[in-house]
């Protein structure tokens, strides 16, 4: 499937239509060029309020650059960025206090303890009253499971502990939006589960979460929406469930009478073909109950019927790997060195 087909089948969420959910973060035609490197090229994206949006893309696809522009750290070469409907980076002082961010890995001072590093960050949080700083830091440390190591120097932290401290900094004050760039980098499986649990908790509280990752399973497990970036452009965005079904919907029927089943369906003008342990039925023109009904009436024994869902992995591979075939105009981008913009 080409990018254009996907764009048609998957409408972007919360476009100006009535009843649409408000958009927390939006970019319009955003482009960022570093010298001769095009890091991000005409990205339009929307983060609906209350969603957990997974930003997917291979290394160097422009995920981090896009996030940095959303946070006002980087000014786009072209295009507009909005947070809570206010232009960035101009409105940073009214929007960013409500945003928690972990960008480009944790950045802390090695000679300070985890707690002292957080105290330093907390001092700069506009929404944190001075009297509450100590308590907020203690809570954040507890939230990410760093209480025991809080007073050790950051220098001696493991990669996973550093990542947790970065997460703690993002969660120091109540947030409307939490942006996590590769939050599970360096975490062990237990740590990864904890990050998922925190994301789920934020979601339950109504906090919008934007999480970038190249780990598909992570996104599939935690996100409601997905934005797929490749080589600096958005190749797909929308609700995860819609995206996954955006491929041709197919019903997988397990039956010993495969040949008979295919004949019965074709007689009823329903496209079907043989599969290893049964048949695959195309659902573009026919709803699933009609297929089952036809099969049962033809005397085919149906053991199991299930909707064959495109795995996120398939989708991702299709979107990001076959792109140069679909979009010959993007070929020149392959020649550009994308290192350092991930």
């Amino acid at each position: 499937m080409t990018r254009d087909e996907l764009a048609r089948t998957v409408p972007a969420p919360a476009t100006a239509g009535a009843g649409a959910r408000p958009v927390v973060a939006r970019t319009k035609g955003v482009r960022k060029v570093y010298r001769s490197t095009i890091a991000v090229d005409g990205v339009d994206l929307e983060v609906p309020e209350g969603a957990v949006v997974g930003m997917l893309g291979p290394n160097g696809s422009g995920k981090t650059t896009t996030i940095r522009m959303l946070l006002g750290l980087v000014r786009p070469t072209e295009g507009e960025v909005e947070l809570f409907g206010q232009p960035m980076p101009e409105s940073a002082e009214s929007t960013l206090p409500h945003v928690g961010a972990l960008v480009e890995g944790p950045g802390f001072h090695p000679f300070l303890s985890g707690r002292d590093n957080l105290l330093r960050f907390a001092a700069a949080e506009p929404l944190l009253p001075s009297a509450k700083i100590t308590a907020a830091v203690t809570n954040a440390l507890e939230l990410v499971g760093l209480t025991a190591a809080a007073d050790r120097r950051y220098r001696g932290y493991s990669l996973g502990m550093k990542q947790r401290l970065g997460l703690a900094a993002a969660l120091l004050v109540p947030r409307k939006l939490v942006v996590l760039d590769e939050p599970t980098n360096g975490l062990d499986p237990a740590g990864t589960r904890e990050v998922r649990r925190i994301i789920a908790e934020l979601h339950a509280r109504g906090t919008t979460v934007l999480v970038s990752s190249h780990l598909l399973s992570e996104v599939e497990a935690t996100c409601t929406h997905v934005i797929v970036l490749s080589k600096g452009i958005v190749v797909a965005q929308g609700e995860l469930s819609e995206l996954l079904e955006a491929g041709n919907p197919t019903l997988e029927v397990v039956t010993p009478d495969a040949t008979q089943a295919v004949e019965a369906l074709r007689a009823n003008r329903i496209p079907a073909r043989l599969a290893p342990d049964g048949i695959l039925v195309d659902l573009v023109t026919t709803p699933a109950p009609r297929v089952i009904e036809t099969l049962v009436q033809a005397g085919v024994s149906v053991y199991e019927a299930r909707r064959k869902r495109t795995g996120l992995e398939d989708l991702f591979a299709r979107l990001t790997e076959t792109q140069s075939d679909d979009l010959p105009t993007d070929l020149h981008l392959n020649d550009v060195d994308h290192v350092g913009v991930a």
């Binding site: 002082e93 409500h98 960008v103 802390f108 090695p110 960050f121 809570n139 990410v144």
Partner: protein, 288 residues
């Protein structure tokens, strides 16, 4: 691990929120004075005056010479040791301390990725620079103050409070000497702030703190070399270290001559304005 324990999440409006500047400055000063390299440099600066004092006493002319005790007493007085230490330390060590502070302030923070934390809090670029300038000023003031304090203490231990002898041969009261030392500390701090402003300007353009220190010290050494050549005398008024050596003896004379000090202060103020303007121009456009 526990659950998220937040109060109500406040609504987003177009109201601007800022952390109090005093809180940022306090956090910055804490960070600076807990940094091991700051402490090492300050400790080395602090022990310099006692070493000078003791060296002069030990190396002084033998007791056989009649005038020797007077010379040694003059050179190791509570006025001479601090001012003499400034003279010697200004050529490299004191500028090194502020160059390091300026380098760590922005380039150093950037190199470990910690600057982002404040930028997304957010701390606006202008306030960030203001906090960093204050931090560099604090280092300059503490460095100069420490040298004066240990120098004064050394002088008092070696010679006591009375009869502080000036280069003009007169003697000064203790209060008068203290006043002169205070003036010297203020003047040296201003000179160091000028160095720090240049360091901050360079610091905004790189994320390699070593590069900042190397460029600042390299610039100072080149300036000092250039100031030796008479053929370049037209250039001398623009060189920051011009007068660093000559200014301190002015405070050891009686009466004090303020010409050189005033000229040096004006020059340093120009460097501060230019350095900070460049730093501001760069920091507001820099990618964070």
């Amino acid at each position: 691990m526990t659950a998220i324990a937040w109060d109500e999440t406040p609504e987003v409006t177009d109201r601007r929120h800022r952390a109090p500047l005093s809180r940022l400055v306090l956090a910055e000063v804490r960070w600076i004075f807990r940094r091991p390299r700051t402490l090492v440099v300050l400790a080395l600066l602090a022990i310099f005056p006692p070493i000078i004092g003791i060296s002069i006493v030990l190396a002084g002319p033998g007791e056989a010479s009649g005038e020797a005790p007077l010379f040694v007493a003059a050179a190791t007085s509570a006025l001479s040791i601090p001012l003499g230490s400034f003279m010697m330390l200004m050529s490299l060590f004191l500028p090194l301390a502020v160059a390091m502070a300026g380098a760590d302030a922005i380039a150093g923070e950037q190199s470990v990725g910690a600057l982002r934390g404040w930028l997304v809090a957010p701390v606006s670029r202008g306030r960030l620079l203001a906090v960093k300038v204050f931090g560099v000023l604090a280092v300059a003031l503490v460095a100069a103050g420490l040298v004066a304090l240990t120098g004064l203490t050394t002088g008092l231990i070696l010679n006591g409070m009375d009869g502080i002898i000036t280069l003009s041969g007169t003697t000064l009261g203790f209060a008068d000497a203290l006043g002169r030392i205070g003036l010297a500390v203020a003047w040296v701090t201003l000179q160091l702030l000028a160095v720090g402003a240049v360091a901050l300007a360079i610091s905004t353009t790189t994320e390699h703190p070593m590069l900042v220190v190397a460029l600042v010290l390299g610039g100072l050494i080149v300036s000092q070399v250039l100031s030796v050549f008479d053929s370049l005398s037209w250039l001398h008024p623009f060189l920051l270290p011009e007068g660093w050596v000559a200014a301190m003896p002015q405070l050891m004379r009686d009466p004090v001559s303020l010409d050189l000090l005033g000229e040096g202060a004006l020059r340093a103020a120009c460097y501060v304005v230019i350095g900070l303007s460049l730093a501001y121009a760069r920091i507001v456009t820099r990618d964070g």
